[in-house]
C-alpha cells in the first residue's frame, strides 16, 4: 500500500487509465511508480494518468513521470498525462515544461485519443 495517494483505475476500452490523487514527493515517488506500473497491462498501447485530483507534486514526481515514460517506451508503450488547466499541479508542471518530456493533455479523452493515434501509426513488430 502506497502512503498518502489514491489510485483508481478508470474504465476505458483501448488504453489503461489511472486516476492519481493525493501528494507525491521524494517520500513515495518510487512506490507510486511501481504501483502505476502494476496497473499497466501487457497488451495496452500505453497508460493515461489523470492528474486532475493530485494535490501536490514536485521535482521528485516530475522525475517519476519522466522515468515511467522511459520504462514504458522500452516496452513500446506510451505514457500520457491528463492535466486540466484548473488542476492544482498545473502550474508546477508547466514551469518545468512537462509537455516537452511527456505528452500532456487537457482531458483524459484527449490523452486516450493521443495514445490511440500513436499506436495506430506504431510499426508492428514482426
Amino acid at each position: 500500500l502506497v502512503q498518502r495517494i489514491t489510485l483508481d483505475p478508470l474504465a476505458n476500452d483501448s488504453v489503461d487509465v489511472m486516476r492519481l490523487g493525493g501528494e507525491v514527493d521524494l517520500g513515495n515517488s518510487r512506490d507510486v511508480a511501481e504501483a502505476l506500473l502494476d496497473h499497466v497491462s501487457e497488451d495496452s498501447p500505453g497508460l493515461v494518468i489523470d492528474l486532475s485530483g493530485l494535490r501536490y507534486v514536485d521535482s521528485a514526481g516530475i522525475r517519476l513521470f519522466v522515468e515511467l515514460s522511459e520504462r514504458l517506451r522500452r516496452n513500446r508503450q506510451t505514457l500520457a498525462l491528463a492535466v486540466p488547466s484548473d488542476a492544482p499541479i498545473h502550474r508546477t508542471l508547466s514551469i518545468v515544461k512537462m509537455e516537452l518530456l511527456v505528452p500532456v493533455h487537457e482531458s483524459v479523452e484527449d490523452a486516450v485519443e493521443d495514445i490511440a493515434t500513436r499506436s495506430d501509426s506504431r510499426p508492428t513488430v514482426p
Binding site: 498518502r4 501528494e23 514527493d25 521524494l26 517520500g27 513515495n28 501536490y56 507534486v57 514536485d58 521535482s59 521528485a60 516530475i62 522525475r63 492544482p88 502550474r91 508546477t92 514551469i95 518545468v96
Partner: protein, 839 residues
Amino acid sequence: MTEISAATSESDRHALEALYELTAAVARAVALEDVCREAVRVIRSAVGVDRAALLIVDEGGVMRFRAWEGLSDTYRARTEGHSPWATDETSPMPVVIEDISEDESLAELRDIVTEEGIAALTFIPIVGPGGLLGKFMLYSDSPRVFADDELMLASMIAASVAVAIGRREIEARLRASRDQLAAIFSAVADGITVLDRGGRFVLANDAAAKLCGFEDAKEMLSAPPDLVIERFQILDEDGEPLDLDALPARRVLAGEPYAERVVRYRRHGDDDDRWSHVKAAPVPGPDDEPEFAVNVFRDITNERREHERSQLAFTRISRLERLADAALRASTLDELLEELLVVVRSLLGSDRATMLLLGPGNELIARAAVGIDPDVAYGVRVPVGEGIAGTIAATRAPTIIDDLSKEEVVSAYLREHGGSLAGVPLLFQNRLLGVMHVSSDETSAFDAEDLEYLKLAAERAAIAIEQTRIFERERDIAAALQQSLLPEHFPPLPGVVLAASYLPASDGARVGGDWYDAFPLGDGRILVAIGDIVGHGIQAASAMGQVRNALRAYANEEPSPASIFTRINTLLSEAAGNLFCTAFCGVIDPWARTITYSDAGHPATLVLNPRGEASFLEGARSTPLGALRNARYDEQTETLEPGAIVVAYTDGLVESRREPIDARLDALADAASAAANLPPARITEFVESKLVDDGEREDDVAMIVVQLTASPDELRLRLPAEPDSLRVVRGALDGYTRRIGGSDEDVLDLKVACCEACSNVIEHAYGTGTGAIRLKAAATDGGVVISVTDAGRWREHHPRGASRRGHGLTLMRALVDDVEITTSETAGTEVRLFRRIGG
C-alpha cells in the same frame, strides 16, 4: 375435472415447485447474482409473461437492472432508474399497466416501451424491513389483465429475493466488523480465545496460542480441545488442583454473566508454575443462552512471584500488627510516624524527636520530626557511617550520648542545641530501615530505661513502615500493569510540548480503564486522545489496548476526530461484551494554531490562553463510544492563541462525592490558571496536587497536556533529513503561510519551492547517516523569507544521472521572487527564499 383446469393446476404446480426451488436457493446462500437470475426465470414461468426483469436499488438510491430476460440493451439503458414509487415509500404496492396505449401515468416512457414491443407491464415492489429494495418488472407483448393470485405469487417471489438482498448486506457488515476485530485481536498482547458451548476453540489469537505452547493460532485451532487442556495441570491460586468447571469460560457458558480468576498452571514435564489472569464474558446466541465465551488471559507470572514474596512478609507483619497499639494506626505513614514521635517525646520528656529513613545512596533522610521547625528538619541527609545517626545505622547499636558538644554531629539543629540524645536503629527482619532519635537541651537527659522504650517504639514504627512499603509496591505493580499500556514519554514533536500522567486509584489492586495517547499525523499535526473505559465484559485494561489500537489504525486512514469516533463506536457496538468508553480526541495544528475535536461523553477539555485564562471546549459533544449504535459524532474547530495550553483529563480528576461537579470544574480551572506559566510536565503535577486527594482516590486519574510552542512571528523547524519530514514541512508551511495572509497559490508555491530545498538536503544526507534540516520562515514587509540550512553542499547535479536537481532549481526560481544559495565550509549550505505575499 376438465382438461383445462387440469392443465391450470399442472402449471400452478410448476410455479410452486419453481418457487420452492428459489426459496431453497436463497436458503442455501447462493450468490445474489444467481438468485436474481433464478428469480427472473421463476417469475416469468410462474406468472406466464413474455419478458421479465429484476432491478435493485444501488448505493446512490437508483434502480439498476440486475437480471432480465427478453429485453434489449437500448431499452434497459433508457428505462434504468425509473420507479413508480418514491424512494422513501414505506409500503409500496404493485402497479399494473394493462395497456400502455391507454395509460397516462407512463406517458413519458410510452414511446420507448412501445418501440420495444411491450404492450402491458407490471411493477412488483421488493420490500425489506428498511423500505424499498428493488422491483420486478413483468412485461407482456399484448394488453393483458393480471389476476390477483398472479400478483400474489409475484409478491411471494419478491419476498424471497428481499431476504437474499438483506442477508447479503448483513453479511457484508459482519465481514467488515469481523475483519476489524481480527486486526485488533492480533495486535493485543493479551491472549484471546473464543469457545463454543462444546468447549471447542472457534477463535484464538497468536498471543493465546503462544501462551498455550503452540506455534501460532492456526496450529492451536486445529488441535482437539481436550489436547489443549491435557497439556496442563490446572491449579488454583494456592496450588491445589482446580476443577475445570471453575474456569471462567466454563462458568460463563454455564450462565454466569462475567467471570474472572487467577489460574495457576504447570505444563506437563515442566517444573515451573505459571500464573494467568483469566477473564471471560458470554456471547448470547439467538436463544439468549450463552453461545460462545470470550476468554481473555494475561500471563501474570512475574507480577505474581513478586506478589507471593510480599504476601509472605505481609503475613508475618499482620501477626505482629495485632500486638501493636490501636492508637498507632493512622491513615497514612506520615501521620503515623508523627503520632508515634509525639508519644515518644512526651513519654521521654525530650524536646525533639526525629525519624530518619534509609534512602537511595545509603543515606539517611529525615522523614518525620517533632519539636523542630519542619523546614530545618526535613532537608537533613546523613550518610550511613557518619555522625551520630549514621553511626547508629552502621553499628545497629542503641546509643545514648550524654553531651552532644563532645561529638561529631552532622545535623545543624543538633549542633546548635547541644544537650543529650538517645537513638535506636529501625530494623525489620534484620534489615535496616532507618534511625529514630530523641534529643534534649539538657545533658545526660536519657537513661537505659528510656532506651528500652525507644526500642519498643522503633519496632512498631518499623512494622508500619514496612507495611506501607508493601502496600505501595502492590499499588505500583497495579499501576505498572496499566502504564505498560500507556506511553510514558512522547517523542519530541515540532511545535508542541507534551506531557501526560497517570495515577491509579488509591485502592491499589484495582486497575482502572483510563488511557491516553498522542502521536504525530505525519503532516505537522498531532493527534491527542484521552478516554475512560466503562462497563463490564472483556475487562477494562484489555479493552483499552483495543480502543487505542483502533484509534491509531483509523487515524492513519482518515485523521478526523468525528470519523475516528464514528468507526470506533461501530466497532464497540458490534463487539461482544457490553463495554463503552468516554473519550476526547483532538487534532492540533500547531502551525495554523487550531484544534479540531470531538467529545464522546467525556468531561470538557480545558484550554489556557497565554494570559492564563481558562475556558472549556464545549462543542461537538455526543454519547460515549459503544453506548448507542448509530450515534452521530461531529467535530468542531477552535483557534488557539500562541502558547496556548490544552489540558485533557479523565473524570477521576473532577469527580468528588463531597463537592458538586461545577465547583470541581472551577477548582480545575483555577489550578490550571495558576500553573499556566509552568512547563507541561509540571502543570500535571501541580493540578494533581491541588485536585487529587492522595489519601482516598476512588478512581484513577489520567491527564494529558499539550502546549503550543511555535513562535507566533516565525516558523522554526528542525527535522531529521528523511523523506517523511517533507510532509511535516508542508503541513507547517500551510498553517504558517495562511496565518500571515497567504492565498492558496502562495501556499502551494511556497510548499513546492521549500520542499525542493529540503529534498536536496535529504537526498544528500542519504548514505551519510543522520543529518538534519533546519527551516526558518519569517514574515517581512509584504512577504515571507524562508531559510533552509543543512551541513553540506548544494548539489546541482546528482551523481546518478544528468541534472536530476535541474527541475528543482527551475521550480524554486519560478515560484518565489528571490533565491539565494550560500555555501560555506563551516556553516554548510543555506538556501534563502523570498516571496511576496497577498500582493
